[in-house]
Symmetry: C2
Subunit: 345 residues, 2 copies
């Protein structure tokens, strides 16, 4: 820890005015001699310009905030990496905020942007209240939303059809011979939860699957631990009701992983007895035991696109808001191998 010198001291040491010192360092018009003197003085003192003062003068911290509910979810980590990559080489720092389930924290965060902490916000909220929507609309810096917003608002947005993702998962299970499919969702009061619920019900009726309310259960959140708990409960309930299942669709990979553990704990083989699918296609899916079939929601691509939208808006603040949509893609792995390997026919 050392005291940091300021431009006055550099200028004094170089024997020039602070205006000249500033120009010499920022590369404005200055004589070669002045530049040399100032550079040398700056180096000698270890001078670095103060970011706060510069920000105040210039307007614009070169910082963007990325806000998610749970940074522990690998899905968001994938987004984060993509955003960081996109913004990083433009000299923009990324500040990550894991807001958790407290809506107040999220609101505080958005409001804190109004005090000039950052130049922009990329947010992927799972719960959207009217307050949050208003806060986002009224934000003094550009906002890009990854996900849903219920009502149309004039904000740049990247979305993915996760309803369709669930439908794809169900279709895949049906195609590989499963008919008794259960669904472990996340909380229904979240946007992803609601969309996926719709997807399951649509697909179930489309494929004329018979299912009862006992086939659907909601985990407390989108984590593996919650998935395990919900999976245990689901299996117990269905066993009690005498309704066997041969497949589980999980609302995301973490829940899916928890569900597999629940199956194994209950003595059910995956995929022999029960097939399991996840959603998100996170890193864990490929290395789980067995590897988890999952529907990719293209987190990295969405992150990249969100960053690009934000950059575009920096350039042209008054563009019409844009809505980008990416399509889910199915990744088949061992957790949904057919009960009798197809090769045996």
């Amino acid at each position: 820890m050392q005291e940091k010198p300021n431009l006055h001291q550099v200028a004094r040491l170089a024997g020039v005015s602070i205006a000249s010192a500033s120009r010499a360092l920022t590369g404005q018009s200055a004589s070669a001699e002045t530049v040399r003197k100032v550079r040398s003085a700056a180096k000698q003192l270890g001078y670095v310009p103060d970011a706060t003062a510069r920000t105040l003068r210039l307007g614009g911290t070169r910082q963007v905030v990325f806000a998610v509910d749970d940074i522990g979810n690998p899905n968001y980590v994938a987004m984060l990496r993509a955003i960081e990559h996109e913004l990083g080489h433009r000299g923009i720092r990324l500040s990550v905020s894991s807001t958790g389930r407290e809506m107040k924290q999220t609101l505080d965060l958005v409001r804190s942007l109004n005090v000039g902490v950052a130049d922009g916000l990329i947010i992927s909220p799972i719960r959207v209240t009217p307050q949050l929507r208003r806060a986002l609309e009224e934000c003094v810096v550009p906002v890009v939303v990854i996900g849903s917003l219920d009502k149309e608002v004039a904000i740049d947005r990247v979305r993915v059809n996760s309803t369709k993702a669930v439908e794809m998962a169900v279709a895949h299970l049906v195609e590989t011979g499963r008919r008794h499919i259960a669904f472990i969702n996340g909380p229904l009061d979240t946007n992803p939860g609601a969309a996926r619920q719709l997807g399951f019900e649509t697909a179930a009726s489309h494929h004329a699957l018979s299912y009862s309310s006992g086939h659907m259960i909601c985990a407390d959140d989108f984590t593996a631990a919650a998935g395990l708990a919900a999976g245990n409960k689901l299996i117990k309930n269905l066993k009690g009701a005498g309704e066997p299942i041969d497949a589980i669709v999980a609302a995301n990979d973490l829940i899916g992983v928890g569900a597999i553990s629940a199956c194994v704990g209950a003595g059910l083989q995956v995929p022999t007895d029960v097939a399991v699918t996840g959603i998100d296609d996170t890193e864990i899916a490929a290395v789980f035991n067995p590897p988890l079939t999952s529907v990719s929601l293209r987190a990295a691509k969405r992150g990249r696109q969100a960053a690009q939208l934000l950059l575009k808006r920096f350039e042209e603040p008054f563009r019409d808001p844009e809505l980008l949509t990416v399509d889910p893609v199915l990744k088949v792995r061992a957790s949904t191998l057919p009960p009798q390997p197809e090769g045996t026919y």
Copy 2:
């Protein structure tokens, strides 16, 4: 997006000087009448004080940076949560930086602190070069290191004995009847990698285990994918050499998870044929299939302590640097059940 009003406008609307306006809002001496007028004017305009200007005047952005190599590692997420919790209710924002394996990025980050972007840094580096050590020493803001630093430097630090953690893992395996133990480490040029290597070799000789160099392999990094690749290679090598193993110690949970997948892929049952242990006791350990025995390195506790050290240093900038040590604890799960259940004796 709206234009943001400043204090001048509030003062003008309230019919007072900006000094009075500032005092009224910050709660200094001001008459009830003035406070009322200013408050009302501020609310009417939607005024929020500008953080940059305030920072410039007051000194001190209320922001701290947390830097890690890979935010995708749940271990760091646990630290992050603890730090955020500790700093959050003191009104300090936490900015997360995932520096990746590029040393240059880390150096840039540390240097960027010298421009006044944040008031402090908590860093958990896995590779420490002399340059990095120097940059940390010369940093103008307080730094707390979670992890090793090779040489003693005058910086607050929280450490854990991960050498001992590996020894505990090996001891546990030996106690449960394993004798042919392999080790999948992370990169040896990292501090955790080096410490764990030492731990394995110490423990192996202490328990008089016979092992060849073929029993030790290094994954490319501390991820599950690298663990899977290394696990595959390890199994193939040992099979080629005709050296069977009955246990694998992995340098962290992600590698451990990858190792289990490798075993399963090679037709080895876990824990019946091969026991596997991880390190870190991250969330994934409890929900994996089978649940992974792991040695907790108390990530949350270390994060909390690091945050507290930083806060203490804010209070007293010239305290002597402190070194806190936490002890690892073993969490036994199904991945190391003895080959013959102990109950059968």
